[in-house]
């Protein structure tokens, strides 16, 4: 029966599978814990999700362009340590642009190696993960960095401020998500990223500057990391050298949950947002229910596989794979 349903509702489900799963999930959780669906909790989870979320936006674009970015975690450590450290040395007015530029440089290195030299993105960004982690440690000498005057700096606005009662990180996240959604769906750049990810050879045969497009996707990813670092640095008002460790996997999991194909060429920013929120709500919901933190890993396992499975199944019109 499920198969028949899937066949009938195939196209719609394929588009909205994640949304349906997300809503079901929220309903189940709100029955399990009465705290779950309170405005306070929802806003707090939303705010917590913004760091992974902003990074996931950039990575979604990289993945649509047919590549991977595993270096975002280290890059986040780098950017956060840099902005927090420079905050007290040269003031936030300079620290923020310097950090953004430095992070973009790292993105440019990724973009150069992958877009222009055409090296494999998985391995290059894995290597960069290690290199950047080392750079952070060398830069900071392995010491934590902190902002001395936490209550007075305007830098606090990124992580802790609010506009009309809505936390600034949420505004940043939603704003960027809408911006990138529009960029990817309505502009020539977005179309070209889809084309390069979908078929790089045909793109070159169509006169698309493939190298430049891939390069730009990595710059965008780095820019997102820089924004995430502003939120993180401002929220914590300090940083450890390994603060971003493991983020790359959370980000990737969110992108995958959003149904973006790792083969490139297809994916959606808005569905990545759903993926991000879903992961954040799983984490939050299970803790609210008093489960030990590691059950969240087990649930995430199941959710990722079931969600992606249904997505794939709806696209091919049958539940089980045709592999013999």
């Amino acid at each position: 029966m499920l198969i028949a349903r899937l066949k009938a509702g195939g196209p719609t489900l394929a588009k909205q599978g994640i949304l349906v799963a997300f809503i079901l999930f929220m309903i189940v959780f709100s029955f399990m814990s009465d705290r779950f669906m309170t405005t306070g909790n929802v806003m707090s989870v939303f705010r917590q999700a913004t760091i992974v979320g902003v990074m996931a936006l950039g990575v979604t674009i990289v993945v649509i362009g047919g590549n991977l970015d595993l270096s975002v975690g280290s890059m986040l450590s780098f950017a956060t340590v840099l902005v927090v450290d420079l905050h007290d040395k040269i003031g936030p007015e300079l620290a923020v642009p310097v950090m953004v530029l430095a992070t973009l440089c790292l993105g440019a290195v990724n973009g150069f190696l992958i877009g222009i030299l055409r090296l494999n993105s998985l391995i290059v960004t894995l290597g960069m993960l290690s290199v950047i982690q080392g750079l952070v440690l060398i830069y900071s000498g392995g010491q934590n960095v902190d902002i001395a005057n936490q209550s007075e700096t305007w830098f606090r606005v990124f992580g802790r401020g609010a506009v009309m009662g809505i936390a600034t990180p949420i505004i940043l996240f939603v704003g960027l998500a809408l911006f990138f959604h529009i960029l990817m769906t309505t502009t020539a750049f977005g179309r070209r990223v889809h084309a390069v990810g979908g078929n790089p050879v045909a793109s070159v045969f169509s006169g698309i500057p493939r190298s430049r497009i891939v390069f730009l996707t990595y710059l965008i990813s780095a820019l997102c990391v820089a924004v995430a670092a502003m939120i993180l640095g401002s929220r914590v008002m300090g940083s450890q050298n390994n603060v971003g460790q493991g983020y790359e996997l959370q980000v990737l999991a969110a992108v995958i949950l959003g149904g973006t194909s790792l083969l490139g060429g297809s994916g959606s920013i808005l569905r990545t947002v759903l993926g991000v929120l879903m992961l954040a709500f799983i984490q939050n919901g299970l803790i609210l229910m008093g489960q030990p933190y590691y059950t969240q890993w087990l649930v995430t396992w199941a959710v990722i596989i079931i969600a992606v499975w249904l997505d794939v199944a709806a696209k091919r019109g049958r539940l089980l794979s045709p592999i013999a």
């Binding site: 020539a188 070159v204 045969f205 500057p209």
Partner: protein, 504 residues
């Protein structure tokens, strides 16, 4: 029709559906021992699907398969082989990093104890088969190092690994040279003499009429009838296939051409081609004819900025130019419809409209956004002009038939308003109906003042569309013909490497 033999194989009332498509709708088909039975139909008529049902790759929704008069269930390719049914695939189905021998016996490698491969037997048997096919390479070589034609021979060699009852060839000649075709036809004759039933699928009428004994025609997944080859002609078959006759006359050369749009002087790209000089005028179609591997595609790629020439110069509108990438070529008004539409021409899962406007999408903007209206206008214009069959622009290019895919690619480049249009193998694997449409289209384009270069390995095609023909052999131009002076004989001589002077 009288039935002298009991059929080796019968398909009855086969129905096969895919989501949204009824690919086969009650098809009947039979093959007798020792006959060549041709299967014809437009692109997407269901020929390959029918054969995949036969080979156990698809399970039919309805209908049955009889072998030697008994109903059988064929659940997978191994079972089909066990029943003596072998399918040579339309698309190459090889593993590039493995040896020819392993590819020939893929899925059925001979075993020794402990699951070890019996290399000795494997190579001995494979080499024997390759010799029978008169191949000049050994079974030990890696397939990736073989030419496309030789890869095709490896594919064909698979048919000879078992005592076949029925062998299906699905468009085997698409990438074979003439010499290899002769070998293939010998093999087919040989098999036939041994009483094997052959199913032969091709879009080339000449082959069908030389080889086959009977012809079955499919249309839109439906059975349209079976004819005795001896008792029919191309026109009848064509009408059964596409519902109308084709105009197969050569065109009349227009009285005069415009100015020279593109000139190439002593262009070389070692080791692919050397010393290439030719020119194309507005309103003219120049055909490049040669065997596969003659280097024609490489010339087109060089003109389009995809390869760097080692010597020589290119002049557009009389001005020498450097073309370092496709964008530069596009800016100079050069367009290339590439050889391989799936890999080079289309982003398959993108929709038709987006594919068509891809090279110019950054110019179709209003403000920062792509102008939807402008895109749809372009799509509508070329859909109508090229008679592309698709329900809407939103259809993903992957589900279109080969011919319609090709038209999308042509439309994409026409919409760029080029001055020089290069088309490489525009009708490879395309049915006769679409082929003739594309030929007519190329002539019309020339009449409108485009300079057109057509690269083709099919003689009838170059003869039909060209005003001039450049014959190539092994990376060199052997001779240039005016359409009025060309004959099939001197063309064949030219592309086989016989010097122009000797011919003249």
């Amino acid at each position: 029709m009288t039935m002298p033999h009991t059929p080796a194989l019968q398909l009855q009332g086969i129905v096969k559906t895919f989501p949204g498509v009824r690919a086969l709708d009650g098809v009947d088909f039979d093959v007798r021992p020792g006959e060549v039975h041709a299967l014809l139909g437009e692109n997407g008529a269901g020929k390959s699907t029918l054969m995949k049902v036969l080979a156990g790759m698809y399970q039919p929704n309805e209908g049955r398969i009889l072998i030697g008069g008994k109903t059988v269930a064929i659940r997978n390719p191994i079972e089909a082989k066990a029943q003596g049914v072998v399918l040579i695939h339309q698309e190459l189905s090889l593993v590039p990093e493995m040896s020819a021998a392993e590819n020939i016996y893929l899925g059925e490698l001979p075993r020794k104890s402990l699951g070890r491969v019996d290399w000795k037997t494997l190579f001995a048997k494979s080499n024997a088969i390759l010799e029978r096919l008169k191949c000049r390479f050994r079974a030990e070589v890696t397939v990736a190092n073989l030419s496309i034609a030789n890869q095709q021979m490896v594919e064909i060699a698979r048919a000879l690994t078992v005592d076949a009852r029925v062998v299906v060839f699905d468009e085997p000649t698409a990438s074979l040279t003439d010499a290899e075709k002769v070998v293939l036809f010998d093999i087919i004759t040989d098999l036939k003499a041994q009483g094997v039933g052959i199913v032969y699928i091709s879009h080339r009428m000449d082959e069908i009429f030389t080889l086959s004994d009977r012809i079955t025609v499919l249309r839109d997944g439906q059975y349209r009838g079976t004819l005795d080859t001896a008792a029919t002609n191309e026109d009848e078959v064509t009408r059964l296939m596409i519902g109308r006759s084709l105009d197969l006359t050569r065109h009349e050369a227009p009285p005069e051409f415009g100015k020279t749009m593109l000139e190439v002087r002593n262009l070389s790209c070692a080791p692919l081609f050397r010393d290439i000089s030719f020119s194309v005028r507005a309103g003219e179609v120049v055909g490049f004819y040669g065997l596969v591997g003659a280097g024609r595609t490489e010339i087109a790629e060089t003109l389009f900025g995809l390869r760097s020439p080692s010597a020589g110069e290119i002049l557009v509108d009389g001005q020498p130019v450097q073309i370092t990438n496709p964008r530069a070529a596009i800016a100079l008004g050069i367009s290339l419809v590439p050889e391989n539409r799936k890999e080079q021409g289309l982003v398959l899962h993108m929709n038709c409209r987006d594919n068509m406007t891809l090279p110019q999408v950054q110019d179709l903007t209003s403000g920062p956004f792509i102008s939807n209206g402008a895109e749809i206008a372009i799509f509508d214009q070329y859909r109508d002009r090229l008679a592309i069959k698709t329900p809407s622009w939103k259809q993903s290019a992957s589900v279109l038939s080969g011919g319609n895919q090709q038209k999308i690619v042509i439309g994409k480049w026409l919409s760029m308003q080029p001055r020089v249009l290069i088309v490489d193998e525009p009708t490879r694997g395309i049915d006769v109906g679409s082929k003739s449409e594309i030929h007519t289209l190329l002539r019309e384009l020339a009449a409108q003042g485009y300079a057109v270069i057509v690269i083709s390995s099919e003689m009838p095609e170059v003869l039909r569309v060209s005003d001039r023909i450049v014959a190539m052999y092994n990376g060199r131009i052997m001779r240039e013909f005016d359409i009025s002076e060309v004959t099939e004989d001197n063309l064949v001589q030219a592309i086989s490497g016989i010097k122009a002077e000797e011919v003249a």
